[in-house]
Each structure stands twice: as C-alpha cells, then as structure tokens.
C-alpha cells in the first residue's frame, strides 16, 4: 500500500498530501475499540462511566460519545467546596515546596512583598500592569521593571531581576497548579526567567480540577486563546543527576503564592 501511495507521490504530490493520503489508506482497516471492564455501564455503581449510555460498538459511530465530559471521579480529588479546595491546594503546595501566604487585602499583600524585598535585599523586581500586581509595588525599597510597557523589554535586564510578580488565570486545587498565560501574566518570560516567581491571586480564582481550569480558559479565550498558557506546578526542578530531585533547574527556584481574601 505504502508503495502505491509513494508511486502517486512521485508524481509531484506535496508532503502534506502524501502523508494525509497515507493516513487515509492506513485507516481503511479499523482497529478494534479497547474493551474495558470499567467502561461497561455497571448499573448501581456510584461511579459514572465515561460513556454511560453511549454505544459500545466500534467504529466512528462509537466515537461520537467522546469527549469524556464527566466529573472524572477516578482522578485525584480536587474538592467540591471552597474550604476543601483550599485545604487540598495548601497540602499540594506544601508537598511541591511552593510557598503560600494568605493575606486579608492588597495592602497586607504589599506589606508582605515589602518585607520580602527588604530581608532578601532585592535590587530590582519585575512586574506587569495588572490591578492585583501594581498595588504590591507601591512601597518596595528597590527598583522595579515593568515588562509590558510600550516598548519591548530588555531580556538581559529581566534576567537580572531578583523576582517577577504576576497575576494568574486560575489555581488548580487538584494538582496545586497555577495557570498563567501570556495575556494575564505579563507575557511569556516574566513568570519563568527571574529567580523568584511571586503570584498574586484572589481566593475565587481557585478551581477544583485541571478540567475546570481548561474549560474556563477555553471559554475565556472565546476561540482565540492567548499564545501561551502554562500550568506551573511548584518551583522549577530536575532529577537528572542520579534521579535526586533538586529545585531551580532553569526556571524560578522559589514559587510564592499570595492569596488575597
């Protein structure tokens, strides 16, 4: 079959058309749909199956039942109340060796940033324009560097900043992940290049699961997503040397989440 396709391709067919033709030819023979015990509607079980009520037959008819648009009660728990979500989040962040600080309001958050800058003797802190971020820099005893100004920022200057402060899109309790994007977190580099990443967020930005965060991002983007969306789960790490985990490989060595509210 491949030979036949390639004979056609030799007649000046583009790589795109050749590959798509090979794909179509390859898929002429159907592969059986996997059989899973857990996917058989189990009648009486509390756990909904991913395609309960759907056809179990193979082929394209059976595919229409996807995606698995259910609560996914088999994945790690993300909590179903704000209290349980916060508790799961705090536990996850602690295991990830990320820091979490709860403050009552933005002025308390600003005090916290001020004390960080002072005790660590920071020289320059990078940030972006955002209603949650800008108030935190009001009193810092060091230089500041805004990366989303009118002109392109200088990469070397950002690299020399001690910390980057950003807002975020959402916080996922289930995995302790912070969702940042190029639209709401000051572009791509601010949340990854400086040695310390400080995220400021409000309590209502906490969602239960990754699915919830992805769903919200898709709808917020309304067909045009930011060019980058990133789930940050703890400080940068590596296990490449003898499989011994170490923090601060290339990204921030410290991740500090300030939760307001």
């Amino acid at each position: 079959m491949k030979a036949a396709v390639d004979t056609i391709a030799a007649g000046g067919m583009s790589a795109r058309d050749t590959i798509l033709l090979r794909v179509r030819e390859a898929l002429r023979l159907p592969a059986p749909m996997p059989h899973f015990k857990s996917l058989v509607p189990s009648g009486g079980s509390d756990i909904p199956s991913p395609h309960a009520g759907g056809s179990s037959s193979a082929g394209h008819a059976g595919l229409a039942i996807l995606p698995l648009d259910v609560a996914r009660p088999w994945l790690p728990d993300g909590g179903d109340t704000p209290e349980s979500q916060l508790a799961i989040l705090a536990n996850n962040l602690e295991k990830l060796r990320a820091q979490m600080h709860r403050v009552a309001d933005l002025s308390a958050a600003a005090d916290f940033v001020l004390s960080l800058a002072r005790t660590r003797d920071w020289h320059r802190v990078a940030y972006h324009g955002h209603a949650l971020v800008e108030p935190l820099l009001a009193g810092v005893p060091c230089a500041t560097y805004r990366v989303d100004g009118a002109d392109a920022f200088d990469k070397s200057a950002l690299e020399h900043c001690d910390a980057g402060i950003t807002a975020c899109d959402a916080i996922v309790a289930q995995t302790g992940s912070i969702l940042v994007s190029s639209a709401t977190s000051g572009g791509r580099a601010l949340s990854i290049l400086p040695h310390v990443h400080i995220v400021v967020a409000t309590l209502d930005q906490i969602v239960s699961t990754l699915g919830d965060a992805l769903h919200a991002a898709k709808h917020r983007g309304a067909g045009r997503m930011p060019s980058m969306l990133s789930f940050i789960t703890g400080p940068s790490r590596t296990g490449d040397i003898e499989r011994i985990p170490r923090l601060g490989a290339h990204g921030p060595k410290e991740l500090i989440l300030i939760l307001v509210g």
Binding site: T18, I19, I47, F153, H215, H250
Partner: protein
C-alpha cells in the same frame, strides 16, 4: 554513536548481543541504575495512591488516544487549520531527511547565530543536531540531562531520564573540562552550574527548537511537558520558535489533557503534575509583550503511517513517551539503555523500532523480552506492549523465515506425535544432557555460558507418573 545502517547484515543484532553481554556483567552499572530508579518507584506509588481509581483513569486515557489515532485523517487537518489560524506555520515531512532539510532552511532564513533546544526525542530520531552542526550551526541542549549527554557525545540512555547512568563525579569532571568549574560532589551545585551557564545562552539565542507532547486539534495548540523550565525559556526568548512533532501526537479536545497530563507525570516520573505543562498557539499576539515573531511546526511521518496501517499494533501510536515501561522492564534494567541502539529504548522501543527502521534488522529486539507483561501493566494508555513483541516475532517469522527454526519445529512435530519416538528421544536426551555443553552449536554455547544445567532425572516423567500411580494404589 551508533553507526548507520549501511553495514553488514544483522549488524544491529550483533551489536545488541555484544553490548548486552558487556552490560549484564557490569554489576556496578546495574546496581547504580536500579538504585537510581528506586526513588521513582516510591514516588510513583505515592502519586498513584492519590487517584481514586487508577485503572479507570488508564481506561479514559487509553480511550482518548484511541479515538484520536483512529481519526487522524480528520483530526490532523483540523489541528493544522486551527494552528494556522492562530498564526503558526506548518511544515510536513515524509521522512527524517525531509524534516532535517525543512529545519535547516528555517534556521538559514532566520540567519541564526545561536540555537537553543529543549528536550525532543523526535529530534534524536532524525539526528537533527548532527545535521545542524554539519552546516555550521551551534546548538545547545538546555535540558540538564540532554546537556550532559551532549557534552559526553552520547545519545540519551533513557528517553525520559537521558543521563540516569552517569555518576555525579563524572558530571563534575565533565563540567570541569568543558565549563572550567571546580570539582563538586553535590547534585545541587552541579545543577546550579548548568543553570548559570545556560542563562545568557537563552538570552542570546535567536532560534529555539522544542518538541511537542500533544497537539490539540480543537484549539490548534501544542502542549509541552517539562520540569526544568528550559522549554518555557526556549519558547519565550528567541525570535523564532520551531517545534518538531510526530503526527500521532494529536488529541481531539483540550479537555483530554485534564486526564493525560497528570497521568504522564505520574507514570513517567512519579509526580502529580510535571512542573511546567504549557500550551502554545502560535507566535506572539498583538498586545503581548514578548514571545517569538514566528512559530513553525514540523509534522513528521517517518514511518508512523506504517504503524497506523497495522490495526493490530496501531495502539503503539497511543504512546505518550512516559518511559514507565522502561523503568519496570527486567531486560532494560539488565542490559541498559545503550544496548538497544535505538532512539526509543525499552519495551515500547522494541515494538516500534522494527516499524520505523525495518523488521529484518530490528526484530531481535522483540526477542529481548521475558514476556512478563510488566510493561503492559504499567502503561498509562494501556498499550498491549508485550503481545506486540510476540506479534513482531510472528511477523518476522513470516517475512524472514528462519530455516533452522522451521526445521527444528518440523523435527519436533514428528517426534512429539509418536509416543515411542518421544520416549526414545527422551532417554537419549537424559543420558547425554551433560554433553550438551561441549557441542559446537553457538546458540547452545551462549545459552549455557551463563546458566547451570540441572542434573538429568534417571527416569522420564511418564515413568515417574506410572510409578506414582502404582504407589498410590
């Protein structure tokens, strides 16, 4: 490191047998690699325990990949249309040579002076670095493990843990030699040396090359999973971002990642989530303050459609390259990663390499298996890996019949279907067992070189059975 294909027949098999023998006897190496995996097993089990039902999660992950791979004809064009609508540029490559040419052209057009690269096994598959260097382009691997392997002049040992076989003392010496740093015994300090060395390189690079873990059809995004932040930096700072991906990485829905990302992390590295899971949909947008001006995606076939055309083994395209099957494989743990001589090592590599590089040269990998099924048991997307090794053996026997094996089976059929002949053969065998070692048959000699023959029983099974029957009366 691995010499190319234009060699004597069965060179790959001969190399495998030779290297396997060397590694199996190197107990220091085996102990070191198994110790390095020890922490992985502990953290993987702890993370798996957080799933309310790991087996159902595997079903869901498997179904998401099955439904995408079996509709690649529909989803691949959908992905490309959405990716292009986001401002990205797509290039199609039928094979490794075409992919290298496309990337070289892009690098040339970008007038690249410095290229930074994050971990991408597909680029190892097409030997991209060698091609770039041959044309005079410097390229730096930014993932710590890949960087160490680049300095050592070796391919990755394990496709997820590239330098898991290297001791910290060797890394310290390597950094001393290439970066001029003082010796240290601390993994922490070694990590910091690489970090400091790499920082300015990200800033200076004008082209960044990455791989892709998933291509999301409905949104036209590519998803990249990493721990270190080097891929984030590679896709943030250079002016041009080039991503290289196999065509099989498509998933239909953004939502599929809610299952696949945590499972990749848990199965692959014993984490609840890998540190950075990033979705890219094209170059910098209006209103964004940074990001590349151009984003290119090279979509590679390179015989993936040959696997797709085999319904029996199509599910091996579900692979998300977590490496879990390597970590549990008794063969991998004994012969080590380099012995395979392939880009993708371990059980999944043994399944797909014969498709990617030819069954006649690479079928011996399918025999390097105890068929214990540990690989299939841990696969997060439920690929039937160990049965595919059997399928490969069957296919090889059909396409490249082994005359001696066939002859042996014919003799066996004659003997086994005649009880008197079977008894006579057994008697002869029992009395000559000790002489087997001395027979000049290479297969027997190799087999017995590392194994002790048991003493032959005086009576056959049938004689003993009859005796037992009498005794019990």
């Amino acid at each position: 490191m691995i010499a190319q294909d234009a060699q004597s027949p069965q060179w790959a098999k001969k190399k495998f047998l030779h290297d396997a023998k060397v590694h199996v006897q190197d107990t220091g190496h085996r102990t070191f690699v198994q110790k390095a995996l020890g922490g992985y097993f502990l953290s993987r089990d702890a993370q798996k325990a957080r799933y309310r039902d790991w087996e159902q999660a595997r079903d869901a992950a498997s179904l998401a990949k099955w439904s995408a791979v079996n509709r690649l004809d529909e989803l691949l064009p959908l992905f490309v249309a959405n990716f292009e609508a986001n401002g990205g540029q797509v290039h199609w490559a039928r094979d490794a040579e075409e992919a290298r040419r496309i990337i070289l052209d892009l690098v040339r057009e970008a007038k690249a002076k410095a290229i930074i690269k994050s971990k991408c096994m597909t680029s190892e598959e097409i030997h991209l670095n060698a091609a770039l260097e041959k044309d005079g382009y410097g390229v730096i691997e930014s993932d710590l493990g890949e960087f160490i392997q680049q300095l050592r002049g070796e391919p990755p040992y394990h496709f997820v843990f590239p330098c898991m076989h290297v001791r910290r003392e060797e890394i310290s010496e390597l950094f001393g030699k290439f970066l001029g740093t003082p010796p240290t015994n601390s993994p922490e300090e070694l990590t910091m040396i690489a970090r400091r060395h790499m920082r300015q390189l990200y800033v200076d690079a004008d082209v960044g090359i990455t791989g892709a873990n998933f291509l999301v059809a409905e949104t036209g995004q590519i998803s990249i999973t990493e721990n270190e932040g080097n891929a984030r930096l590679t896709a943030a700072l250079p002016r041009v971002h080039i991503s290289l991906s196999g065509i099989e990485k498509v998933v239909e829905h953004l939502d599929d990642l809610a299952v696949l990302l945590p499972m990749l992390a848990t199965a692959g590295a014993g984490q609840q989530m890998t540190c950075y899971n990033t979705l890219y949909s094209g170059p910098r947008r209006d209103g964004e303050c940074d990001g590349p001006d151009e984003m290119h995606l090279v979509l590679l076939d390179n015989s993936r459609t040959a696997i797709l055309a085999d319904p029996e083994q199509r599910d091996s395209l579900h692979c998300i390259r977590c490496g879990a099957c390597l970590n549990v494989c008794p063969i991998f743990k004994n012969v080590g990663g380099f012995t395979y001589g392939t880009t993708y090592q371990g059980p999944i590599g043994s399944v797909i390499t014969p498709h990617l590089r030819g069954l006649s040269d690479w079928n011996h990998l399918s025999a390097a298996s105890s068929l214990c099924g540990a690989c299939s048991d841990v696969c997060p997307v439920r690929i039937d890996i160990h049965h595919h090794l059997l399928h490969n053996r069957r296919n090889a026997a059909r396409t490249v019949p082994n005359r001696w094996e066939k002859f042996g089976h014919q003799i066996f059929v004659i003997v086994a279907s005649r009880p008197w002949l079977f008894a006579a053969g057994g008697a002869i065998f029992r009395h000559t067992l000790g002489m087997l070692k001395r027979l000049p048959v290479p297969l027997l000699r190799d087999w017995l070189a590392t194994r002790t023959l048991p003493a032959a029983p005086r009576k056959s099974f049938r004689q003993q059975w009859r005796q037992a029957g009498k005794d019990s009366l």
